[in-house]
Amino acid sequence: MSYYIERPRYSCALGGAMATVQALPRTIPILHAPPGCASNTAWTQAGGCGLQVGGYCGGLSMPGSNVQEREVVFGGAERLEEEVRNCLDIMDGDLYFILTSCVTEIIGDDVRAVVNQFQANGVSVISAETGGFKGNSYTGYDLVLSSIWDQFVPVAGQPVKGKVNLWGIPPFYDVFWRGNLAGLRQLLLSQGLEVNTFFTVDDSLEAIRQAGQAELNIVVSDVYGLGAAQYAWEKHGIPYLTSPLPVGPSASSEFIAAVGTALKLEKTTVDAAINNACRRYYQLLDPMTDCFNDLDLQRYTVIIGDANYAVAINRFFIEDLGWLPQLVVFTDIVNPEQQTQLAAKVARLPSGVQPKTIFSTDTNDIRRQVKEYWHSRQSSCGKYSNPLSPSFVIGSALDRELAKDIGAAHLSVSFPVANRAVIERGYAGFNGALRLIEDLISVIIIGR
């Protein structure tokens, strides 16, 4: 066990929960927390999320009980009740979502009692227990989704054919969440499915309320949102399919096929759709063929990312782009079982290229390990040497120093993304992979 984490590439459960609730349509988060949790999130977003902060009710607009010593000593439920009551008069939302914090979890306020009291009066209010010590921002994301399935979505009698829910992409902590969700949504819409993705501008609370009618929940992550999927299976009887975040034609084709199999779609139709998407992808890529080859744009790479991106980008590089990942670094806190599972996703790819896998949460430790590996791989013979060059580091903004150390180009994709502005850019699916190629190569040729 390590005693600390250096520069954690996530926030706490509450931080992730706030970001997730901010992304829900017309939803007002209400924090039962001391004053700083909200601004901590706002500053984290400003620095780590490609300049995206809040939304309809984010930043310092989020109502909150601002608990102090008085509440710590005497309990904060009364203060929360007052806060919610006045909030309903002022804040214009269709759903009010109470989130608890370390302080209010430790003092043991009965938040559900407050929720029940308002619900009894017909107010659309739900809650999640998101004390920061419960885990990181991905845990918070999962807890919010589970609460939605628990308290907001009624159990439906009968599934509706062709209706699916998709998640596994945490708002803000996947900096490209909007684009990724929109890209995958589009992919499934083109299969004739009805898709609820919860957090895009094309989603609505009404559609989320009907999420229980889905015949399948699709989680595009090996780690994030699995708790909610399990809960929805247990309470609502909706089966779920998990898939790594699909980036690029190989992974996306497999993703479409997997969804098709799970939903028992007509195989010839699914195959035709895959075929069509791949052809379209390569037609778009076609005019870059000359320059891609003439400029010698293949790279040795280091991939540093969260559980979603590390797997997804490695696969895209190896199977589609023909790059050479040497090291894949997972920066999440994962248990041994998850380690084995994630390492397998990196190792067993059809083309046989096999990068080394590292699990480390600490930026300086990653930097040290990568440098050591890079130096160990510099065979030389007289005036001839064969270093791992040219190279590319795809990671977070924290990995810029490492990239400098090994003389590599660099692109921030995984949180924190301090040095890019992101609105609806996404890397998932077929089109997303084309965006990624644009971004990678634009970095390489910037001095041209």
Partner: protein, 494 residues
Amino acid sequence: MNYFDQKEPPRREARLGACIACGGTLNKLAKRKMTCCLPDGERSFTQNSICLLLPALGMMNSITNSVVLMHGAIGCGSSSHGGNAAVRSGNTHRWGVVKDATWLSTALSEHDVIGGGEEKLDGAIREIDERYSPQIIFVVSSCAPGIIGDDIDGVAQQLQPDIKARILPVHCEGFKTKIWASAYDAVYHAIGRTFLQEPSEANQVNRLEKPTINLMNVSSMGRVDEVELERLLDALGFGVNIFPIFTQPDKMAAITRAQLSVSTCPTHDDYLLQYLKEKYAIPYVLRHMPIGIENTGLWLRDVAKHFGLEQQTEQFIAAEEQELKVALAEFKPFFAGKKAFVSAGEFRALSTAILLAELGFEVVAVRSFHHDEFADSEYEKLMKVTAEEIPVNIANCQPFEEANLLRRIKPDLFLGHMNGNATAAKSGVATHVIYNVGLQYVGYKGAYELARRLYRQLQNPQFNRQLSRWLPLPYRSSWYEADPFTYIWKPEVE
């Protein structure tokens, strides 16, 4: 009683009677010395705010050869992802080298919260000392350890003999105060207890030859603002020792060898300057903020008076003001009569409001994050340059009150703090950030640069206007009809 003998500094609510909830008009508030603003006054509806941890991290992350160890849940301190940009640029501007901040977290789990986190903290300090070899390890306590009773001071004291770095415990439990300016006290307290304990005689012999001034900067000024103040002080013949941001631990004690300490903001520095005065007999100046033309002059005169340099300072100020006046002539007709609304930390808001009036704007409303007695004089100054009936709102952010006021007042321009401009922007008002360490605000140069930026900004506020057409604020329409101060507790007697 010497505060620095205690483990933690006192709450500002107690030490200064600082408050966060008040609404009224300028003349009422100023003349009655904010009597409606009760200590521990509050609202019955609140939006979230900032806690002292955030500004404290802004200071600590800048200190050279230091690391910040957050003792708390894994999210406390993730704001450093935002603060890191200022650390990178600050290091670049000062040393010509890009360098990230290094912060770490003990990442307390549910298990730790139940069983206590001291053991983990102990292990973390030992390992960090070994692996990072910093000169300082700031050990920062957030809410959770504050409630479960982890004794960070005890752990630090016990470990110090085994640790090469100096361990500085810093108390940033967010549930203990609503005045986040307490952050400055918390960090100063830690530095004072560790680095400023030598007896004053030891420092006397090292008095520097050129009269040197401690110029306090808790990160409210970027390097570009420091340069302007150095220019002004240099012109009067002073050396400048900037403290505490971006200082090197070895050089911290230099602060005890200056002839005078000068604050740029009474909200920031009174806690440490009083200590330096008592312990090292270093007098201090803590009255005006060098933002604005008149205020920059007043600030300089205070310094000059201490050294008996009044006459040459008057000449210098007159020359500076004359040069600036000519330069500003280009902008003034454009600004004339435009309505400006200002919101920020109390001194920053007031001095900037006065500057805007000097530039020709009509100041129509002011919001201050908190109020304490230091600012009484600024309200008096503001009343001389603006209408007496304008709304004044003491609020630790609370954008719902701001949205209401904006709807009523319809200003042409809004100046708000970082993360405090979105409400005005979505209301369609031209905005400008009142504090950003990449931009210049301070002194005569700052006045000109701010004017130059406002001149640019006001030429095309279309971005915000279009936002307001399409992005509603999250408030019910009925809220805009209500008194903006409805939810502030009213005192029994006004």
